[in-house]
């Protein structure tokens, strides 16, 4: 069968990325231009600055992806692009460029949901993985337990009621003076601390066994810091980071495994930026091995935002014949499984 090449573009937050993916699983190139340094002085992503940077980087990133894959645009079968969710100004740069390129070379256009991309990163890292399976998607903006019924078919069975897990990491990191981005910094510092030093609460939501809430644990950390300050006692930041992280990954992992058992799935795929977190991986390994669940997670470079994962997701849309019109828009709050 003739191979299918997808040019994929991702610009939903603060990474400008392009990739060429063969048959949904083989990454021929994956270029990521990160803006993280630009936003660090503001303590988080500034949407207007992100959008301005995307437009500077979009062409070089696409050109490099094509060059590295040693492929001409004419040989591409379709152009896939993240059309939501994300920052609307950022999304629009990728969406507008992708549409123009697809139009100019007369190739189909495929709008891809960012989270579908994250889940699909697992198809690249694990060629044998096929639906159905359970997925735990955790990032700066998302904390979802998702049933992947088939390629492109998702059902969300658990979600956060307030902060996303990654958001809680960022806020706690700021409170203990680690700065942005919080996830990797807390992960690193936590290795020097005792995760059982402080008992932070795990939220369980009545009637919603697979839903999350992270604002409680975040507030508990802030309260703890205040109390120590009022008492004039020193804070062991490494212990705080480790204990906070333990509380978060414990509840993430426990509920994901419980969901897999309850719905009868023996596979869990981690996805999203927080899937890089070493404590989350360790906790998932621990629980999954005792529950006889097979655990998958993408390699770190495919966990953070990238376009290869969009190419993987786009490929499965392409072979199902799903394409989008020239009026494709960026949808900042696009729901998983929502038709675009």
């Amino acid at each position: 069968m003739k191979p299918v090449y997808i040019l994929a573009i991702e610009s939903s937050c603060d990474e400008t990325a392009a990739a060429v993916v063969k048959n949904g699983r083989e990454v021929l190139s994956s270029i990521i231009s990160s803006q993280i340094d630009l936003h660090t002085i503001y303590g988080g992503v500034v949407p207007e600055i992100a959008s301005r940077k995307h437009i500077e980087k979009i062409n070089p990133v696409i050109t490099e992806a094509l060059q590295q894959a040693d492929i001409r645009l004419e040989e591409i079968d379709a152009v896939a692009v993240t059309c939501g969710p994300g920052l609307v100004g950022s999304l629009l740069v990728g969406v507008s460029a992708a549409k123009a390129i697809a139009y100019a070379v007369k190739k189909p256009l495929i709008g891809v949901h960012h989270i579908e991309g994250h889940v699909s990163a697992n198809y690249i890292s694990h060629p044998e993985l096929e639906p159905p399976f359970m997925s735990l998607v955790v990032s700066g903006g998302h904390s979802h337990i998702v049933v992947v019924k088939d390629y492109g078919e998702y059902e969300i069975i658990g979600r956060t009621h307030d902060d996303a897990a990654g958001e809680a990491f960022d806020k706690v990191a700021r409170a203990i003076g680690l700065g942005y981005p919080g996830g990797p910094k807390i992960d690193k510092l936590a290795r020097e601390g005792n995760r059982f030093a402080i008992a932070f609460p795990r939220a369980h939501i009545e009637g919603c066994p697979y839903d999350y809430s992270f604002s409680g644990v975040k507030s508990a950390v802030l309260n703890y810091l205040n109390q120590q300050e009022m008492k004039g006692e020193d804070v062991n930041k490494a212990d705080v980071a480790a204990s906070f992280q333990e509380a978060v990954v414990d509840v993430l992992a426990t509920k994901a495994a419980a969901a897999a058992n309850a719905f009868g799935y023996d596979k869990i795929a981690l996805a999203g930026g927080v899937a890089c977190n070493t404590a989350l991986r360790a906790k998932m390994e621990e629980i999954c091995s005792s529950e006889r669940i097979k655990l998958y997670y993408p390699e770190p470079i495919l966990c953070t935002d990238n376009a290869a994962m969009i190419g993987a997701a786009g490929y499965y849309e392409y072979i199902k014949g799903v394409t989008h019109g020239w009026d494709l828009n960026a949808v900042p709050n696009l729901k998983l499984g929502e038709k675009i």
Binding site: I55, A98, K99
Partner: protein, 248 residues
């Protein structure tokens, strides 16, 4: 020479195809849909009507700013994508110059004013000077920049126009918010461009692009970035904080 001109700098979405001699197509929509939903379908429609293909364009001109940040980026990203795919040069057209070309050939002072919020307008001051071939009877016009484009308070703009002291015509979406101040402060005769000449036109941007091409002011698809004329709010506030710190 065939030019594809795109505009998404304001409320209007515009696509035009033109040559030195003729405007082959102009499609203008001023409606609530976002440019992201309209511009490419409009381009597609124009190409179908012309039984042509976008690859036939020699240059892709785009109003590069100032204007709505998001609109500028939608349009610029589209132009950059087309330029990348077709390997065509781009022509960044300053938006206020493009607006001035709505009134190409006017003998008045042309003052585009675009609503820039924060009590400012994006503006410039331009004229078209007659430069016909002696005795031929056919007139051509040379575009002159009296003041290049900038963000300014309407009072400052009017003060300069009063000093220039020539009959002025205003155009642009800044008229609505500033009409009263203009009526109050202008000391020279003035008028407002009629509705069909008041807002951005892709054909006018294309006419302006013809001049810019002759002047060699083109760029690659990779080089094109919007000319916002303003920092982002976060950068501005950060600079204000740092300046405040520096003061004794």
């Amino acid at each position: 020479m065939r030019i594809l001109a795109l505009d998404g700098s304001g409320s209007v979405a515009g696509v035009s195809v033109l040559t030195e001699e003729a405007v082959l197509a102009e499609y203008t929509v001023n409606y609530k849909k976002t440019h992201s939903q309209t511009l490419l379908p409009m381009l597609d429609e124009v190409m179908k009507m012309l039984e042509s293909d976008v690859s036939c364009a020699d240059y892709i001109a785009v109003t590069a700013g100032p204007g709505s940040f998001t609109g500028l980026r939608i349009c610029a990203s589209m132009a950059k994508g087309l330029g990348l795919a077709l390997n065509k040069p781009l022509v960044p057209v300053p938006t206020t110059e493009a607006l001035a070309y709505n009134l190409e050939g006017s003998d008045k002072i042309i003052c585009p004013i675009m609503d820039a919020r924060r009590n400012q307008v994006y503006t410039g001051v331009y004229t078209f000077e007659k430069s016909g071939i002696e005795g031929s009877g056919e007139l051509t016009y040379e575009f002159k920049t009296v003041r290049g484009q900038e963000a300014a308070a309407i009072e400052d703009v009017i003060e300069k126009l009063n000093i220039i002291g020539r009959e002025t015509v205003f155009l642009g979406d800044g008229i609505t918010a500033n009409r009263n101040r203009i009526e109050e402060l202008m000391r020279v005769p003035y008028s407002f461009a009629p509705a069909h000449r008041r807002l951005q036109s892709a054909a006018a941007a294309g006419r302006c692009a013809l001049r810019l091409i002759a002047e060699g002011k083109t760029c690659t698809a990779e080089e094109l970035v919007p000319d916002y004329l303003r920092l982002s709010q976060a950068e501005r506030e950060r600079m204000e904080r740092e300046n405040a710190k520096c003061r004794p």
